[in-house]
């Protein structure tokens, strides 16, 4: 798992950027440890194409030694004529998706992400995670 040095800085902020024909909804969670099943802090879900500004983690409190996960769920409502066209729409998501964290000792950082796309339901899920040190 990648890490980001936040030190005692606060607030730590998140920004999600994406350019897609789908409706994306982003979810951000903070866990005390990697084994936790339930997050202790949640950023209210948002559509990053409509609310594109920075959001504070845990209301601006210190988040040192925490696990941070960001998920974005995209749903296409316009029909695709075939899977090839759908894959091109997913490639657009891959090419434009950017999850940034800022406020730590290292300055801004673009988080890595993994993607799963599902043609049948015209959805895809992107996930990033980071250990805040």
């Amino acid at each position: 798992m990648d890490s980001y040095q936040v030190g005692n800085n606060k607030p730590i902020k998140l920004k999600v950027a994406i350019a897609t024909e789908a409706i994306p909804m982003s979810y951000a969670f903070l866990y005390h440890t990697i084994d936790d099943k339930v997050p202790y802090a949640v950023i209210p879900p948002f559509d990053p194409t409509q609310k594109s500004g920075w959001k504070q983690l845990d209301g601006g409190n210190e988040v040192q030694s925490k696990i941070f996960r960001v998920m974005t769920f995209c749903r296409f409502f316009n029909p695709f004529p075939n899977e090839e066209t759908f894959k091109l729409a997913i490639k657009q998501i891959e090419d434009t998706y950017k999850v940034s964290i800022n406020g730590g000792d290292e300055g801004p950082l673009d988080m890595n992400f993994k993607v799963n796309a599902f043609y049948e339901g015209q959805t895809c899920i992107l996930e990033s995670e980071l250990k805040l040190t």
Binding site: A19, F80, K114
Partner: protein, 384 residues
């Protein structure tokens, strides 16, 4: 005999569509024969076509059932069509922009609400729906004794479209309902659950009954056709010549045309029921005419104009079109009924029956098949 052949093909096609037979990957991108490169030569079941839901890349084919059809078509008629939109990175794209909705000037770009999208971009489809096609055809087109080869290029797009206030409000209302549901505690808990993998989370969300209802309603609101749309196309076909008959390559046919679609939503006949009234205008510069004096080819200019009435149900549509061609001192007509049946997402049949230009009253049958068969239900992409 001709009708028997049509029936046999329909039955065998339907049976094939319902089997588990996997066709070769080469058939994956076949699409209905509607590219301008085909339409120019009057080969398609309908001469009035709309650039809707075009595949990013498709291969199209069309055949006549018999060698004595008006066009003397062989079975070697293919076109490729692609939409550049999907191959170019889209900056600042979002759901509203894709659906031609714009926020009012002065809105806070960092914190937009659905209610901010009160403006409609009537030219918003022009780039999205633009497509380019290239076709290779073989036929005599009532000009030559033997079938000859032609190469065609074409382009089409939706120049403008207009949705009513009621249609726009329905989209914004559905967006709000979706956003509200996706922000509910039930959905948040699924995404927060670290025991679930991404595919499991996707399944958990998409299997929720509320999700299904909202998504279904949303798709219906978006699938409603614009009240009015104007589509334009241009195509050129070049005659390749035939050395064996001492025929040099020559100007074939050039066409520029526009069609307007006035669509009325009729939910009483189906969830996606529409009645369409189309009007078409086409300028044609036709080099495929025999000069009776010299025996060579000569160019004639023609103006086509006509109308089409279409009843669109969910998977089935019936249409009738009548087009008049004013050409020099002559007057030709195309009167064709067409039918399109979408058997499933992978298989669509298109047929046209009636009288085509230059057919001297003969009935012609044109047929196209879409084999857009896809494999697998999902794609998994690696990490970045």
């Amino acid at each position: 005999m001709r009708h028997l052949k049509i029936l046999v093909l329909l039955i065998t096609s339907t049976v094939f569509a319902q089997t588990d037979t996997n066709p070769s990957a080469a058939l994956k991108n076949l699409a209905p024969p509607s590219s301008p490169a085909f339409v120019l030569m009057d080969l398609t079941p309908s001469n009035i076509i709309v650039p809707e839901n075009i595949q990013a890349f498709s291969i199209q084919t069309i055949s006549a059932f018999s060698g004595d059809s008006s066009n003397g078509l062989s079975n070697n008629n293919y076109a490729v069509e692609f939409q550049p939109y999907w191959y170019v990175k889209r900056e600042n794209m979002n759901f509203f922009k894709y659906n031609n909705l714009k926020p009012e000037k002065g809105s806070n770009e960092e914190n937009l609400k659905p209610s901010d999208y009160t403006c409609y971009n009537v030219f918003g489809d022009a780039w999205k729906r633009a497509s380019v096609s290239l076709a290779l055809m073989n036929g005599n087109f009532n000009v030559f004794e033997n079938a000859q080869s032609y190469v065609s290029v074409g382009a089409r797009t939706r120049l403008l479209s207009f949705k009513t206030n009621e249609q726009r409000n329905a989209i914004m209302s559905q967006y709000s309902a979706y956003e509200q549901f996706m922000s509910s505690q039930e959905v948040i808990m699924i995404f927060a659950n670290t025991d679930l993998t991404r595919p499991q989370k996707n399944t958990a969300i998409t299997n929720l009954e509320t999700y299904k209802t909202i998504a279904d309603d949303f798709e219906k609101a978006l699938n409603r056709k614009p009240l009015f749309a104007l589509d334009v196309a241009v195509a050129y076909s070049h005659f390749m010549g035939d050395k064996s008959q001492d025929l040099d390559d020559a100007f074939g046919r050039l066409g520029v045309w526009a069609s307007g679609d006035l669509a009325f939503y009729t939910p009483t006949i189906g969830d996606n029921g529409h009645i369409h009234f189309y009007g078409v205008f086409r300028y044609l510069r036709d080099g495929l005419n025999i000069n009776p004096e010299s025996g060579g080819l000569r160019i004639e200019e023609a103006i086509d104009y006509g109308a089409k009435l279409e009843l669109e149900l969910d998977n089935l549509s019936f249409a009738y079109e009548y087009i008049t061609r004013d050409i020099d001192n002559d007057n030709e007509k195309r009167s064709i009924g067409s039918i399109r049946y979408k058997i499933n997402n992978a298989f669509t049949l298109n047929g046209g029956f009636g009288r085509n230009f230059k057919s001297d009253g003969e009935t012609v049958a044109l047929f196209g098949i879409q084999w857009g068969i896809d494999f697998g239900s999902s794609v998994s992409l690696g990490s970045k």
